[in-house]
């Protein structure tokens, strides 16, 4: 029988807790170089030396006096759930700061392990620590770890198992003498009174004693005397004692050598945080983000399309005809699977590239700096400085962005930021834009950029209005850590990208597949129709056309596509793909596997070359390559004018057409808030699209 050990990872934000867990449990949990990446309890499991080790990764906290929601989650777990062992991860280079939390954790008098992480950076900065001495002083196992390469993680697992076999209780920190005497007295009284101490023996923990002392009002005259002596409340005295203990521990065990390595962060920050240059750095970063994700992925998207249309699809079709499948199956296959799901999969290179670049950005440490540089503009519009981070995350995906509002200390700020996030355009929207913008506009990059900007403006407008009405009040202060710049580990960046691409592919195989099947079935209901516009699918679409006609969407094929798109926006493309591919004449060319495969392999080489070359030009070339599925493009083109295409994109940008986002908003902000916002976003989307379409049609 294997025994299980419950291990909590606790520590200050951004010290590498999740990174260590990813090494230990081979998980792919989200990491990033800024404070507040983990905002909920995350888990990892390892079987090690006959034990099932159950890790719980907690949000980072500076002190066990929680304020924001994510801090409460960490605090509640440590205080209530009684993990078997707490692994206290410390950033060696910032140990003096981190040791406050260590001191507080020691008061729980429960088995603990200290992991001195970032040992590589400490070495570079010339910071030396006598780990053995720390261990002796606290009676806690102390190990050195390096999250970059996983050094020390095995030793951490060893110590966890040891601690499960022979629990080792740390020495509680010793404070000021009179305070200790007083705590001793409460201990003796408590022993006579109740016995539910929670400690390993029937003594109360230091933590419990302190709580009793703080809550005791005027019961102890020694307390009153102490407060008079130090001219502050007992909680203030205790706080100072904790700081003094941490400081003493630090001075006793840490040394700083002179190091010749100069800190590169200060140098970069001279430019990146500069009042004027910093702004241009920000613009440059945004430009590169767009440029690289468009130009690099376009050749690969074209290739993927060819791969599906010229190799996979014909291969499957010829196999189907070999086994003698009838008329329906091949039709279903080329319309619902290739036309619908396959169409969306074509965009994987774009999605992958964006996530890759965003991961690079998040791992570099630049992200919170954007919040600092932009705060002078955004705070005038009522946006809280730290609220910028969830907004930036929104460009990756709105769902984790909404979760990230947990790090905001003020409820008003939290709701305000939540009401902005859905207007930040995510890659799913970009996929739709990149298809339509190329089809209808000579400068698609400008159009797409404009749409992103429009989202931001509507978001800011929403914030501004809310500040003046529902969430009135002074803008609260903020404090935020700026991490050192770190060279991203390419493997980690690939891992993060893969997690995102995998979830996109998973969606394609489940949600998008299901939506395509339903659409296809409805298109063929009732069976043996001559005209698709008499089908059930057309019927549904026509029913909502009156609502959408004023914004230029008059074709039932588009309105029908919009309905399942509420599940996820990219479904609008797969649905259109399915509906329109019915109109496309199937080519019945001969298919030969080997030459087709050769063409594809050659094409991949070409695409790679083209991608790399495109990076050398300063301009965004954007998706402007010929080829692709001309047929599909032509039929879709016939359903739109440039004005209605633009209005369609605006509608999809602003309307929260994403079930996952609405669900997470309901969880974080309540059902009422989520539904109200959904309605608001619909009205906003419709209104703006209406104006754009009507004005655009005049031109």
């Amino acid at each position: 029988m294997t025994k299980s050990i419950k291990v909590a990872l606790a520590g200050n934000p951004n010290v590498g807790k999740t990174t260590l867990l990813n090494h230990a449990a081979k998980t792919n949990l989200k990491v990033g170089n800024w404070a507040g990446v983990t905002v909920e309890k995350k888990e990892g499991f390892v079987s090690y030396r006959g034990y099932d080790i159950h890790f719980i990764d907690l949000p980072g906290i500076y002190t066990l006096e929680p304020i924001s929601e994510d801090e409460w989650i960490a605090y509640n777990f440590i205080a209530d759930e009684k993990p078997d062992v707490v692994v206290n991860v410390i950033e060696t280079t910032n140990a003096e700061r981190d040791l406050l939390l260590t001191t507080e954790l020691l008061e729980f008098e429960r088995p603990m392990i200290i992991a001195l992480n970032m040992s590589d950076e400490a070495k570079k900065l010339g910071i030396e620590v006598d780990a053995e001495h720390v261990g002796e002083l606290l009676d806690v196992p102390v190990i050195r770890t390096n999250g970059r390469n996983g050094d020390g993680v095995e030793e951490m697992l060893d110590k966890i198992v040891e601690s499960a076999e022979r629990p080792r209780y740390p020495r509680a920190p010793k404070y000021e003498e009179q305070l200790e005497t007083l705590l001793d007295r409460i201990q003796t009284e408590g022993r006579d009174g109740r016995n539910d101490s929670g400690a390993h023996h029937d003594k109360l923990t230091k933590r419990a004693l302190i709580k009793m002392l703080v809550d005791s009002d005027g019961r102890y005259e020694e307390k009153v005397r102490l407060e008079k002596l130090y001219k502050k409340g007992i909680d203030g005295i205790i706080k100072d004692e904790r700081y003094a203990f941490a400081r003493g521990l630090f001075d006793e065990t840490f040394r700083k050598r002179k190091s010749r390595n100069r800190d590169i962060t200060d140098k970069i920050d001279k430019i990146a945080l500069h009042p004027i240059l910093g702004f241009f750095v920000f613009l440059l970063v945004i430009f590169l983000l767009f440029k690289i994700s468009f130009d690099f992925s376009t050749p690969f998207m074209n290739w993927t399309e060819g791969f599906i249309d010229n190799l996979l699809a014909p291969l499957a079709l010829s196999l189907l005809s070999h086994v003698g499948a009838g008329k329906w199956l091949p039709q279903f296959f080329s319309q619902a699977i290739v036309g619908g799901v396959g169409f969306v999969i074509t965009f994987v290179p774009l999605i992958g590239m964006i996530y890759f670049l965003l991961a690079l950005l998040e791992m570099s440490g630049y992200m919170p700096r954007i919040a600092f540089v932009m705060d002078r503009f955004t705070h005038k519009l009522g946006l809280h400085g730290k609220g910028m981070i969830p907004l930036l995350l929104g460009f990756g995906c709105n769902v984790p962005a909404v979760m990230a509002t947990r790090t905001l200390e003020n409820r008003r700020d939290k709701f305000l930021v939540m009401a902005m996030i859905p207007f930040m355009s995510c890659p799913a929207r970009l996929v739709v834009f990149s298809f339509f913008a190329v089809l209808f506009f000579p400068h698609p990059a400008v159009v797409i950029f404009g749409l992103y900007l429009l989202g931001i403006v509507i978001g800011l407008l929403t914030a501004f209005v809310l500040r003046k009405t529902a969430y009135r009040g002074k803008l609260s202060h903020f404090v935020m850590e700026l991490p050192p710049y770190r060279v991203p580990r390419i493997r980690t960046v690939f891992q993060i990208t893969w997690v995102q691409v995998k979830s996109f592919l998973y969606r394609a195989g489940t949600l998008i597949f299901a939506a395509s099947v339903v659409i296809w079935v409805l298109l063929n209901t009732p069976p043996n129709l001559k005209n698709q516009s008499d089908s059930a699918a057309a019927y549904v679409g026509k029913a909502i056309t009156p609502v959408l006609a004023p914004i230029g969407i008059k074709d039932w094929r588009i309105s029908t596509s919009l309905i399942p798109a509420f599940l996820a926006r990219e479904i609008v493309l797969s649905s259109m793909g399915t509906i329109y591919s019915v109109d496309i004449q199937q080519k019945t060319t001969e298919f030969h596997f080997v030459p087709a495969l050769e063409t594809q392999l050659n094409g991949l080489g070409e695409a790679t070359k083209e991608s790399l070359m495109s990076l050398l030009t300063p301009k965004i070339q954007t998706l402007q390559t010929e080829g692709g599925d001309q047929n599909l493009q032509n039929v879709i083109r016939s359903s739109f004018t440039p004005a209605s295409a633009l209005s369609f994109m605006i509608f999809l940008l602003l309307y929260t057409s994403c079930l996952a986002t609405v669900a997470v908003m309901a969880r974080e902000g309540g059902k009422k808030f989520a539904l109200l916002f959904l309605a608001y976003s619909f009205v906003m989307a419709w209104g703006v699209a209406f104006v754009v379409y009507q004005v655009g049609s005049l031109i």
Binding site: Y243, D266, D269, F372, R376, H477, V479, E481
Partner: protein, 95 residues
């Protein structure tokens, strides 16, 4: 949450008392870019101060101002950098 709320009168009193005594005291807000100083004390004991103390801005520590922009101030303290806003910075006495 806020334990001080029970005694508004007392709070007001100390606030004005502080206002008088802070007239000549130098605060972190007064420092300019590149300047270094030691933290002497905090004028208030609110949530924000508790938080920045936990983040490393503690009495006796030496700090350097890296950048100031709008209401934001980037403070370097040993190996970490913290952004605080000026309404927090004005409650930190330095010398």
């Amino acid at each position: 949450m806020n334990t001080f709320q029970g005694a508004p009168k007392e709070k007001k009193l100390t606030d004005t008392a502080i206002a008088d005594s802070t007239a000549q005291k130098k605060t972190l807000k007064d420092l300019s870019i590149g300047e270094a100083a030691h933290i002497v004390d905090f004028f208030k004991e609110n949530d924000a101060v508790k938080k920045i103390e936990a983040m490393g801005l503690r009495r006796g520590k030496r700090i350097t101002i890296i950048q100031k922009l709008g209401r934001g101030i980037v403070v370097k303290i040993s190996n970490s950098r913290i952004v605080i806003t000026s309404d927090v910075a004005k409650n930190i006495e330095v010398e």
